[in-house]
């Protein structure tokens, strides 16, 4: 019913525009979504183009997150920027702190007359890409949260009834999994899962200055006892054969789980749809474990993922089209489709309601786990972080964790190096973007 209606409008629009010889406004959208997620971006963009006739949006994959961001920066400097660009969590500070590079999403929507209410968005989503006053600068797009996936067969074979809720529990079941012939655990992004979200889960600050939201003059707080304890455990697990590190690429570790070498894998809620297609065993999904000796009730995780930003310097008419697309994108129907097909979380309350109403979670209970984790009580430090040159800081984390795991360096000296390098970068960023 609805689609026919839309089609009718589209047809009417097309005829009208051909009669009036009305020029269609061309818009470009650079993104970093590949594989299944990339297909869904194309689907949504096509639906948007069919839904109206004034604007034509072209979506182009520019490689990985870093590639996309660099291409956007280069294009902006060359006054050739796309209208919309997908920027990942680690790059948010660079684009938000460069005054005048983007047209804040909230302003853009309000200026083009669209109704905008921050409270339409899930609380965990609302602030991650907002400035210190809470104004939304980027439109959260593919938002995900780290989850634990477990191979049900493997757990059964090892005689384990329940997946671990805490790391203490993990330590008791890991030897059983090893005895059953499995590496107990791998994970796909040590900065994201074993650093950033470690802090939000245990309600610990990552950096001074309100995790970097209040100022760029900040210092990193990674060199703390809790995180050091965690990583010395990870190193022990690796040495015992409970933990597998297959490389820093996301896919390397996920694939080891799919191949059945690893019994449990920490990935993203957005990995769900793909795992469903690739695994030949039954798997389950549960919350990110925590240390019960650090916190009694774990807090919610960061939203992570990436957001859409609109570059400054385009015409009013073009921004109107961008606003139209954002409206389309955040409509409950589009959000539900995206949530269902990719496993990324739905970002609005309305979409979450719709998902529940349409019985999505009855059919696919796993799809709700991410939503539930994000709806857990949020702590003082689970709103997000805003740190400059964070791409390089992540590089430093990766690097020092790899050195730690290969035994080249001790836990203490690895975290000392992380602190030194991060603060050096943050100082530089502060001097550049003051």
């Amino acid at each position: 019913m609805k689609t026919t209606f839309l089609k009718a409008i589209a047809v009417a629009g097309l005829t009208a525009s051909s009669i009036a010889a009305h020029a269609v406004t061309e818009l470009t959208f650079w993104h970093a979504m590949a594989g299944r997620n990339g297909e869904m971006v194309t689907t949504i963009v096509n639906q948007f183009n069919e839904s109206q006739s004034e604007y034509r949006l072209t979506a182009i994959n520019k490689g990985g997150y870093e590639d996309t961001m660099t291409a956007g920066i280069a294009a902006f400097r060359a006054r050739n920027a796309p209208h919309i660009i997908q920027v990942f969590d680690a790059g948010a500070a660079t684009i938000i702190n460069a005054k005048g590079a983007v047209y804040p999403v909230q302003d853009l929507l309000e200026d083009s007359g669209a109704a905008f209410d921050k409270n339409d968005y899930l609380s965990g989503v609302r602030y991650f890409y907002a400035d210190s006053d809470g104004k939304m600068i980027g439109m959260p797009f593919n938002s995900s949260t780290p989850l634990l996936y477990y191979n049900k067969e493997a757990l059964k074979k090892a005689g384990i009834a329940e997946p671990p809720a805490t790391w203490e529990e993990f330590e008791t079941i890991a030897p059983k999994l090893k005895a059953a012939g499995y590496t107990a655990l791998s994970q796909s992004h040590s900065p994201w899962i074993f650093s950033e979200n470690f802090h939000s889960r245990h309600n610990l600050p990552m950096a001074t200055g309100n995790n970097g939201y209040d100022t760029t003059d900040v210092k990193i707080l990674y060199n703390n006892d809790a995180l050091k304890m965690h990583w010395s455990k990870v190193k022990d697990w690796l040495d015992e054969g409970y933990y597998g590190y297959y490389g820093r690429n996301w896919g390397d570790n996920q694939d080891a789980f799919v191949q059945g070498k690893v019994a449990m894998w920490l990935g993203s809620s957005g990995s769900f749809g793909n795992l469903k297609q690739t695994t030949d065993f039954e798997f389950g999904t549960t919350f990110l474990p925590y240390w019960s000796n650090l916190i009694d009730e774990p807090k919610s995780t960061f939203i992570g993922g990436a957001a859409l930003f609109s570059f400054s310097g385009h015409s009013k008419d073009e921004y109107k089209g961008v606003a139209e697309f954002f409206k389309f994108l955040t409509s409950p129907e589009t959000q539900l489709l995206w949530h269902k097909e990719t496993g990324y979380v739905a970002i609005t309350n309305a979409a979450y309601d719709l998902a529940q109403k349409t019985n999505l979670y009855k059919e696919m209970p796993d799809a709700e786990v991410g939503m539930l984790q994000l709806s857990q009580e949020s702590g003082e430090w689970s709103k997000g972080y805003r740190l400059g040159y964070y791409v390089q800081i992540r590089e430093s984390l990766f690097k020092n964790y790899e050195r730690l795991l290969s035994g080249q360096t001790s836990v203490d000296s690895a975290f000392h190096a992380i602190e030194q390098e991060s603060n050096r970068l943050l100082r530089r960023f502060n001097a550049t973007y003051k």
């Binding site: 870093e66 961001m69 660099t70 920066i73 902006f76 400097r77 790059g91 660079t94 684009i95 702190n97 460069a98 005054k99 005048g100 590079a101 590190y245 297959y246 490389g247 820093r248 690429n249 390397d252 694939d255 080891a256 191949q259 040159y389 791409v391 390089q392 590089e395 990766f398 690097k399 020092n400 790899e402 050195r403 795991l405 290969s406 080249q408 390098e421 050096r424 530089r428 001097a431 550049t432 973007y433």
Partner: protein, 292 residues
Amino acid sequence: MQSHPFKHSWVPYIFVAPQIIIILIFFLWPAGQAVQQSFYREDAFGLSSEFVGFLNYAEVLDDPEYTSTVLFTLLFSALVTVFSIALSLLLAVQANQVIRGADTYKTLLMWAYAIAPPAAGLIGGLLFSPLVGDLYQLLNNIGFDFNHNRNSSDAIFVVVLIAVWKQLSINFIFFLSGLQSVPNSVLEAARIDCPGAIKRFWTITFPLLAPTTFFLLVINTTYAFFETFGIIDLTTKGGPGGSTTTLVYKIYQDGFLGADFGGSSAQSVMLMVFVVVLTVFQFKFIDKKVHY
């Protein structure tokens, strides 16, 4: 060499103009900007910038990671150069002496010149991949705890191996033609003076190949510095633990991925100074050789 025979007012300018115009627009202009950027601190989007003198240079030099990158680059180019030169010399000497199948060997040993570094990186990386790599399996089955995604020495081994693999062909071509240009009379005389084949090689043939070897040293060093980018990008991405980051890869990481233009421009300029030294060295040698 000719003593500049034509004196003409405009013809030479017409001839040299296309080259010069392209250089002015696509070389000097951007290179000048790179040098300029190295003295500024600028946000990624070019919205604000501030002159900071040599501060970017000072910060780069003060960074312990930069030092380890320099050391790795030197180690890497030494390993690549030594192994690819030694192996290709061995192959060229043998190929120069076989009669049966000589052409087939030549073709089989020189085709790899044409493979793109990223293609070499992709294949090599997958051969060692913990998920599907046969070489990974093999090495672990025979008792090595091999994982180039985790152990730096393994990673260095993998990138060096792939880089050598890709570079063997070109060295082979140069050595083989170097060997073929050794006059027969010299070889005959050598055979009488010096009956031992190995000794003959080191006392007669190798000195004759010295200019070629020296030339290849320069070529291979440049290769290891710049052209291995595609290999590293498709295998280790500079890891694990930053252990396979070359200078060019670091410029790419800081400037390209990290959006720190001032810092990466300063690194570029420093690299340029190094290349100047290397090229001047090379040029002196080439000019000398032409005149002998």
